[in-house]
Symmetry: C2
Subunit: 327 residues, 2 copies
């Protein structure tokens, strides 16, 4: 294998000079730089990143732990995380936790073993203590872990408020919110809080049905509706769903069971990811999360820690109501 | 940082013994193994994978280059690749080429620098020579690179034949195929070959319109239809689309422009990925690729090379017609 010494020899310079050229450090004359670059090219020298990482303690690898790769929200988030990390020459190792505690823990161990420079956590099944003791830069999506760990989220409270308010404005009298799992301290739980408070403030009756965020198939969402909601679906005239896949499934379910959407039942979703944007019939009314911005800030915030620049920051982006045909 | 020496000291054994336990090599008594495992646990010892990789020349990292992370076909393929690689303790570095030659080449260089153990290539913009000279285990999805490089694909020829045959059986007299980009030597081009031959054999008129595989948004597909197909759409009574997103967009476009699907125009897609399975209205008639099987075999075939077990194998899986409402 070609080594740095061979490059130095070929270029007629010292190993230090080659290293300087490669790392863009210190003053190097134009001619010397050219000679080194030509030698690298001619010898097809590929610097050993593993050895480099061992010396510099930087691998330029970032772990990304998501609860479900194949869920359109996370595919899109991942697309943008890969894009913005790539711009800064970092690569992404993907880890699909399927919301399984053991998998999530073993991924964290694996990322430590591989000396990943940091982790973007979008899956949150473990106790906050685990993340606090990670001794590795980390940024959290949608969960407050501790004051020292930055998080990025969209304004879930405002999202819940917008959704409930929209249904009330449309004349709904009895509302239901199908939430995500409420047992983890996720910021997305603020949607449910805002829903309750907005309904109460407007003296509108409400219920909450705890759902699951990560059902990525029509069948799983359909089964959830059959098992948990079927018998009391007609009790409600407005339903705020915590994600667009359940909202879509629910609107299909209602129409197939003789309940007209939006006349008899108004449905509003959450996310506005690629699936929702593709969908033309019905176009969902939903709350749009700024997925590209969230991804960009997750990367930015992690790199700030890795490169030890500046303070820990918490970032919250606003959301937006998208008017469709289901309300 | 805790090292292997500390573990050995704590367990009262030699460094070699600790290494043996960790690598599951040689005979180790049950009691000794237990002592070492307890010491590892108590000291929270995390073996340095980077140093290990340098010594063993194995990183347990696999590169996965796809043309578009956010396209539902590739999200689903990636989901299963991560799953099956994870079972064998390999991790995935994702690389999104966006079908850009320069990006694809720079990813290959990067993966070499990181000493990835191998690459799964699902993006194919470069000349076959580049892959042949990669000096790194590689498996190709949907493209024959050389006899030495294994590929995995579904039976694209049979898919094209099934699709054309189905439209002809339904009484169509003038058919169009919207293909993927035909300039690269992709196996998916066999769909177009089979389409032509099947039409010719049945003496049915046909055209081919070269499309693009990776438009992941409704708007991009809509624009493509407006620019390339609008004026002659009524010339055809059956269209075979090379992916489900263009098929869905086309069926929406036709219905909005007063062309009834399937009465006046029959449409058949390709892929049957998560988007298509979610979609209830209209349910697409399409050709199903066995995405999980493809992913499983891509991983299996790459690991065979990495672990130098057995011959290079080429694998082709059969496809299946899914009857929906668009034909």
């Amino acid at each position: 294998m070609v080594g740095i010494k061979d490059v130095a020899k070929k270029a007629g310079v010292s190993v230090t000079t080659v290293s300087r050229v490669m790392n863009n450090r210190g003053y190097i004359g134009e001619e010397t730089r050219k000679k080194v670059e030509e030698a690298i090219k001619e010898l097809d020298y590929s610097p050993n990143q593993i050895a480099r990482a061992l010396l510099s303690n930087q691998s330029h690898l970032i772990g990304l732990i998501v609860p479900e790769i194949n869920h359109p929200f996370f595919s899109e988030l991942m697309h943008w995380i890969e894009y913005y990390a790539g711009e800064k020459n970092y690569k992404i190792i993907i880890c699909n936790s399927v919301n399984d505690k053991e998998k999530e823990a073993s991924y964290l161990t694996m990322l430590k073993e591989h000396r990943a420079d940091g982790v973007i956590m979008c899956s949150h099944t473990l106790d906050t203590e685990v993340y606090k003791n990670l001794s590795m830069p980390i940024v959290s999506f949608d969960r407050i872990i501790s004051a020292e760990i930055p998080y990025v989220a969209s304004d879930n409270y405002h999202g819940g408020e917008l959704a409930a308010h929209h249904l009330i404005e449309q004349g709904c009298k009895k509302l239901l919110h199908i939430s995500g799992p409420l047992n983890y301290e996720m910021l997305s739980n603020r949607r449910a809080d805002a829903f309750q408070i907005t309904c109460t403030r407007h003296q509108v009756e409400w219920d909450i049905l705890e759902g699951a965020h990560i059902y990525a198939t029509f069948e799983d969402n359909w089964r959830f509706i059959e098992e948990e909601l079927k018998d009391r679906l007609t009790d409600y005239d407005g339903i705020f769903c915590s994600n667009d896949l359940i909202a879509y499934t629910l609107s299909t379910y209602a129409n197939k069971n003789g309940i007209n959407v939006p006349d008899q039942l108004k449905i509003i979703g959450y996310d506005y990811h690629s699936f929702t944007r593709l969908l033309q019939s019905p176009k969902l009314t939903t709350i749009k999360q700024p997925i590209e911005l969230l991804a960009k800030q997750l990367v930015r915030s992690l790199l700030k820690q890795i490169e030890q620049k500046g303070q820990v920051e918490q970032t919250i982006y606003d959301v937006e109501l998208i008017q469709g045909e289901t309300t």
